[in-house]
C-alpha cells in the first residue's frame, strides 16, 4: 500500500518536520505567483483557471503538482505578454551555461554565463 504511494510520490513528507516543498524551485515558483498576483498581473480566478487547465490537459501523468504550477506560470506570463517563449528559452540556456561554468558549491549567478552579454530579457 505505502509503496504504491511512495512509488509515485518519492518525497512524501510523512512527519511534520518534512519539507513542504520538495525542492527550492517549487517554493520560488509558488512565491512568484503570489507576487505577480499581488502586483495585479492576473486575478486569482485567472490563476486558478490557468492551473486547472494545465492539470487537466497535462499529457505527462508523472508531472508533479509544482510542475503543473510551473507550466501554468509560464503560460500565464506569456499570455499576459510579459515575455515570449523565445526569451524564456534564451534565459534558460544562459542559466544552464552559467551553472556549468560555476564551480560546484559556489553560488550560481547569471553573470557566470560565458556569453552573458547576449542574455538580455
Amino acid at each position: 500500500m505505502i509503496s504504491d504511494l511512495l512509488a509515485v510520490l518519492p518525497a512524501i513528507p510523512r512527519d511534520d518536520d518534512g519539507p513542504v516543498f520538495k525542492e527550492p524551485w517549487e517554493a520560488q515558483a509558488f512565491a512568484m505567483v503570489v507576487a505577480l498576483h499581488s502586483k495585479g498581473l492576473f486575478t486569482w480566478g485567472e490563476w486558478v483557471e490557468t492551473l486547472a487547465h494545465t492539470i487537466k490537459s497535462a499529457d505527462d501523468a508523472n508531472d508533479t503538482y509544482y510542475h503543473h504550477w510551473l507550466n501554468a506560470l509560464e503560460q500565464i506570463v506569456i499570455a499576459k505578454k510579459v515575455t515570449s517563449p523565445e526569451n524564456l528559452h534564451a534565459l534558460e540556456d544562459a542559466w544552464d551555461r552559467a551553472a556549468r561554468a560555476t564551480p560546484h558549491g559556489q553560488p550560481i549567478e547569471l553573470t557566470n554565463d560565458p556569453a552573458f552579454v547576449v542574455t538580455k530579457a
Binding site: P13, P19, Q28, A35, K39, W44, H67, L88, W95
Partner: protein, 212 residues
C-alpha cells in the same frame, strides 16, 4: 505548453554545477520578471518565509485549540467557520470561504482537493506536496481507510470516514478530536498538539507530551 521545453540541455557532469530543468525554468522566469520590475527577489523570499512560518499551520492550530477549550467559539466555528477564523485575525488569500468539519468517535473527516488552488494557506500553511497529487486524491476517494493506514492512522472499524472535496468556493478545516488527558493543558499547549495533517484529516493530533 510542453512544447515549450522540448529542447534538451547538454549534460556534462565532469565539472561545474548543474540545475534541473525546472530550476532553470524558474530562474529564467525570475530573471525576466525581476528585470521587468514585476517582482523583487527579496519580496519573493519574504513570501516564502511568511508562508512557511508566520502564516504556518499554527494559525489553524490556534483555531482548533480555541474550539477545544471554548464551547461558544466552537459553536461559532461550526456554524460560520469563515467568521470564526476571521475573529482570530486570520483571513485573506485563499482563506475566505471556510467550513469546519468535526471529527468524532463515529466520524472521521478527510479533505481532498479537486481543484488546485483551493487550499486554505492562511489557516493551514503551505500544502504538503502530496496533497494535490492525483494518486492521493483518487485513492482518498476510493479507499480512504487505506490512505489513512498509509499515513499511520488506524481508526476503529466502526468509525465512518467522510471525504470532502475542497473546491474554489469552499475550503475545509478538519476539527480533530481533542486528545485524551489534555484537560489541564492551556490553549497554547493544546495548539502545539495540532498538526497540519490533523487539520486535513490525514493525521491525528499529537498526544500529550509529544509536542515539539
Amino acid at each position: 505548453m510542453t512544447n515549450l521545453h522540448d529542447h534538451t540541455h547538454d549534460h556534462d557532469h565532469d565539472h561545474g554545477s548543474e540545475l534541473s530543468e525546472a530550476a532553470l525554468r524558474v530562474r529564467a522566469l525570475e530573471t525576466i520578471l525581476t528585470q521587468k520590475g514585476y517582482i523583487d527577489p527579496a519580496a519573493l523570499d519574504a513570501i516564502i518565509e511568511t508562508y512557511e512560518t508566520k502564516i504556518g499551520p499554527r494559525n489553524g492550530a490556534r483555531v482548533v485549540a480555541k474550539a477545544w477549550t471554548d464551547p461558544a467559539y466552537k459553536a461559532r466555528l461550526m456554524s460560520d467557520a469563515t467568521s470564526a477564523i476571521a475573529e482570530l485575525g486570520y483571513s485573506g488569500r485563499q482563506g475566505e470561504h471556510m467550513r469546519a468539519v468535526e471529527n468524532t468517535s463515529e466520524l472521521h473527516n478527510i479533505v481532498v482537493c479537486t481543484l488546485c488552488s483551493c487550499y486554505p494557506w492562511p489557516v493551514l500553511g503551505l500544502p504538503p506536496v502530496w496533497y494535490k497529487s492525483t494518486p492521493y486524491r483518487s485513492r482518498a476517494v476510493m479507499d480512504p481507510r487505506g490512505v489513512l493506514n498509509d499515513f499511520g492512522v488506524e481508526l476503529p472499524a466502526t468509525t465512518k470516514i467522510r471525504v470532502w472535496d475542497s473546491t474554489a468556493e469552499m475550503r475545509y478545516l478538519v476539527l480533530p478530536m481533542r486528545p485524551e488527558g489534555t484537560e489541564t493543558l492551556s490553549e497554547d499547549a493544546l495548539a502545539d498538539l495540532v498538526t497540519r495533517d490533523s487539520m486535513i484529516g490525514t493525521g491525528l493530533p499529537l498526544k500529550k507530551g509529544q509536542a515539539r
